[in-house]
C-alpha cells in the first residue's frame, strides 16, 4: 500500500466503506445563497455542504421552495453563491461562467431552441465548442438513437409531444459528454404513465453513459426508486445524505422521517436502553442521553399485531380498518390515546377477524424503531 498516496487523500476523494475510495465529481462547500438585501433577504441556501460521487445517481429531494433549484443553478453557474464554493473534480469553479463548466442541465421547461431542428438542438453544445461539422452531426445522430428519436431528427421541436421534447432535452444535454448532468424536476410535467417510462429511461441512460446525474425532485417515491444516494433538503439546508435504504430505515430527524414514507411518531422517555411508552417498553439501540424525552419513529409495515396479553407487547384498541387491496391499514390507539398505524397484508388481517373495538397487542420489528431526539 502506497502510504504517501493514502496520506495525501484530499477532499476530492472520500471513503465509501472500508477500503473503497471514490472520487468526488461535484462538491458544494458551505454554500450560501441569499436573495434580496437586509431585512427582506431570503436565504435560499443556508450553509450547504455536500459531496456528489463520480458516476452516481444523486437525488436532491425536498418540498417546493427548499432550495433545490438554487443549488443546481449554483453548480451550473447561473448564480454565484453569496459565500462558499463549488468544486468540480476538486477544482474550484465558483467564478467560472456557465459556458466554461463541463456541466449540462436538463431544464424543467426543456428550453429547446424553437428555431432549430431536433438534430440541431442536440448538436448545439458541440457546435458551440467549435467541433467539426461532421463530428457534430455524427454525435447528434448517435444521441438521438440513444434516446430513440432518430426518426424525428429533422422535425422542429414544436412538432413534438411533451415526452419527445423531454428526450430531446436529455440528448442535447448529454451530447457534449458533460462531467455532471443536472436535472431539475425533469419528469414533473409528464403524466404518470410517461413518468414511469422516463424513470426507467433515465436510469438506463445514466448506466450507459456513466455520467454523474444530479436529479431534483419533490417526489419521495421517485427519489427512493431511482437514486444511488439521496440528499434530503428542507428550508435551505441538507438534512441527511444517504442511500434510499439508509434514509428510509434510519431517518436522521423527524422531518426526514415524515417526508419519506409514512411514519408513526410516538412520544416516550429514554432510560436504560429502552423507551418507555404508554403501556410498555420498547428496547432500542443505545446512544441517546439517559433520561431524555424522545420521539419513537416506527414505519407502519414494522408494526405487528399479536394477542392482547402477549408478553412484551403494547396494549392497543383497533379504531379503524382501511382497505387498500393487497394491504390493509389498521389504525389503533395506545392506552394514552396516541395513534399507531400498522400496515397488514389484507389476507392476514381478514383471517385474524379484526374489527373496530378489538383489543390487540403491538410489537415492533426488532431494531426497526428509531429514536429521534426532540
Amino acid at each position: 500500500m502506497d502510504r504517501s498516496r493514502n496520506a495525501s487523500l484530499t477532499s476530492d476523494e472520500t471513503t465509501a466503506g472500508p477500503g473503497v475510495t471514490v472520487s468526488i465529481a461535484v462538491e458544494a462547500r458551505n454554500a450560501v445563497k441569499a436573495f434580496g438585501q437586509g431585512e427582506a433577504a431570503v436565504r435560499a441556501l443556508d450553509d450547504v455542504s455536500v459531496q456528489i460521487r463520480q458516476g452516481e445517481f444523486f437525488t436532491l429531494l425536498g418540498p417546493s421552495g427548499c432550495g433545490k433549484t438554487t443549488l443546481l443553478r449554483l453548480i451550473a453557474g447561473f448564480e454565484t453563491p453569496t459565500s462558499g464554493q463549488i468544486l468540480l473534480d476538486g477544482k474550484d469553479i465558483t467564478a467560472d461562467p456557465p459556458n466554461r463548466r463541463p456541466v449540462n442541465t436538463v431544464f424543467q421547461s426543456y428550453a429547446l431552441f424553437p428555431h432549430l431542428t431536433v438534430a440541431q438542438n442536440v448538436g448545439f453544445g458541440l457546435q458551440m465548442q467549435g467541433r467539426p461539422r461532421a463530428e457534430v452531426a455524427d454525435r447528434a445522430a448517435k444521441m438521438l438513437t440513444l434516446v430513440r428519436l432518430d426518426h424525428l431528427a429533422q422535425r422542429k421541436t414544436s412538432q413534438l409531444s411533451g415526452g419527445q421534447q423531454q428526450r430531446v432535452a436529455l440528448a442535447r444535454a448529454l451530447a457534449p459528454q458533460p462531467k455532471v448532468l443536472l436535472l431539475d424536476e425533469p419528469l414533473s410535467a409528464l403524466d404518470l404513465k410517461l413518468r414511469k417510462e422516463m424513470q426507467i429511461e433515465l436510469k438506463r441512460l445514466q448506466h450507459e453513459t456513466g455520467i454523474t446525474f444530479v436529479f431534483v425532485t419533490h417526489d419521495q417515491e421517485e427519489a427512493l426508486t431511482m437514486s444511488d444516494r439521496i440528499g434530503v433538503m428542507s428550508a435551505g439546508k441538507i438534512l441527511q445524505v444517504g442511500s434510499p435504504r439508509d434514509i428510509y430505515t434510519r431517518p436522521a430527524n423527524r422531518f426526514v422521517a415524515s417526508f419519506i414514507g409514512e411514519t408513526n411518531f410516538l412520544p416516550g422517555f429514554y432510560a436504560h436502553g429502552q423507551v418507555a411508552l404508554a403501556g410498555g417498553h420498547v428496547p432500542v439501540a443505545a446512544g441517546t442521553k439517559e433520561g431524555s424525552t424522545v420521539t419513537l419513529a416506527v414505519r407502519p409495515e414494522q408494526v405487528r399485531l399479536v394477542a392482547a396479553d402477549a408478553p412484551g407487547s403494547l396494549p392497543a384498541t383497533v379504531r379503524d380498518l382501511v382497505y387498500f387491496g393487497t394491504d390493509t391499514h389498521c389504525h389503533m390507539a395506545l392506552s394514552d390515546g396516541s395513534e399507531v398505524v400498522a400496515r397488514l397484508q389484507s389476507s392476514v388481517s381478514g383471517e385474524a377477524g379484526l374489527e373496530p373495538g378489538a383489543r390487540v397487542g403491538l410489537v415492533f420489528t426488532e431494531g426497526a424503531a428509531q429514536v429521534l431526539e426532540d
Partner: protein
C-alpha cells in the same frame, strides 16, 4: 345564466355606430382611390376611367425626385432607428427589473408623447445653427430627424417580441458552451428576427409618411413625396395627387400587411 362576460356587441345601436365609424374611415379613402382613375381634369367630377394621372405622375421629374428622396430617407432612417431600437430593446428586456426602468422607457418613447410640431420647431432651431456652423445642407438632417422619431415605432414591436421570448433559452445556450456573443448570434438574434423586421417596416412607413417634421427641417429643393403633394395642393389641384396618394397607400397597405403577418406568427 347567473353571470356572463360583458359583451359590447349586445348594446343597442352597436352595429349602427360601428357602421358609421367604418364609413367615416374608409369612404374618403375609397373616393380618393376611385378618383385617381378619373379621366377628368377636375378633382371631384367623374369623366370616365383612365390611368392618365398615374402616367402623368410617373413622367413628372419633380415626383420622381421626391419619390427617390423619400425612399432614401425612409431606408436610411429606418435602418438607423432599427439598430438603435434593437439595442434599446435588448438593454431593457434581457435583464431583471432595474432602477430608473420607467424613466428609460419614457425617454425611449418620448417622440410618441411630445407633440410633433414641438419637435419640429426644436429641430428647426438646432439644425439652423448647425447649418450655419458647418455649411452642410444635405439630406443628413432629414435622415437624423426621421431616425429620431422612428425609434419608438421600431422599439415597440422588437421589445414585444423579446418579452415573449423565454430568458431560459439564453440560459440554455450558455449552459451548452455558447459564450455571450455566440448566444446572441445563434439564439437571441434569430428568435428576435421577426420583431426586428416588423420594427423596421413600421419605422419605414412612419418615415415615408411624415409631413410636419420634414416640412420644418428640409432645405430648399428637398421635397419628399408628402411635402411635394402638400405644395401641389396649395397651387393647382389635379388628380395627379390622387394617383400619388393611391400608390403610397398601396405600398403602405402592403408593408402593414406584412408587418401584421410577421408579428402574429409565433413560431
Amino acid at each position: 345564466m347567473a353571470t356572463r362576460a360583458f359583451a359590447a356587441t349586445t348594446i343597442p345601436g352597436f352595429a349602427i355606430v360601428a357602421g358609421i365609424a367604418f364609413f367615416a374611415l374608409y369612404a374618403p379613402i375609397l373616393t380618393l382611390v376611385a378618383y385617381s382613375f378619373n379621366d377628368s381634369n377636375a378633382i371631384s367630377q367623374w369623366g370616365g376611367f383612365s390611368l392618365r394621372w398615374y402616367e402623368a405622375a410617373w413622367a413628372n421629374t419633380a415626383v420622381q425626385e421626391a419619390t427617390l428622396r423619400s425612399l432614401t430617407i425612409a431606408c436610411s432612417a429606418s435602418a438607423i432607428a432599427t439598430v438603435c431600437a434593437t439595442m434599446a430593446a435588448l438593454g431593457t428586456t434581457r435583464r431583471g427589473a432595474f432602477r430608473g426602468q420607467t424613466f428609460i422607457y419614457v425617454m425611449i418613447n418620448q417622440p410618441l408623447m411630445v407633440p410633433e410640431i414641438v419637435t419640429a420647431v426644436a429641430l428647426l432651431i438646432v439644425f439652423a445653427s448647425v447649418k450655419v456652423a458647418t455649411g452642410y445642407n444635405g439630406l443628413m438632417y432629414l435622415i437624423i430627424a426621421h431616425a429620431a422619431f422612428c425609434i419608438p415605432f421600431a422599439y415597440l414591436p422588437i421589445r414585444a417580441r423579446l418579452e415573449g421570448m423565454d430568458l431560459s433559452l439564453e440560459t440554455a445556450a450558455a449552459d451548452l458552451y455558447a459564450n455571450p456573443w455566440q448566444t446572441f448570434r445563434h439564439v437571441t438574434l434569430p428568435l428576435m428576427g421577426p420583431g426586428i423586421i416588423a420594427g423596421a417596416m413600421l419605422a419605414f412607413v412612419i418615415s415615408l409618411d411624415d409631413v410636419v417634421i420634414t416640412e420644418f427641417v428640409k432645405s430648399a429643393g428637398q421635397d419628399t413625396l408628402p411635402t411635394y403633394m402638400l405644395g401641389q395642393l396649395r397651387r393647382a389641384i389635379t388628380p395627379e395627387v390622387n394617383a400619388i396618394s393611391s400608390a403610397l397607400l398601396a405600398l403602405t397597405v402592403l408593408l402593414l400587411t406584412a408587418f401584421f403577418l410577421l408579428t402574429r406568427k409565433r413560431d
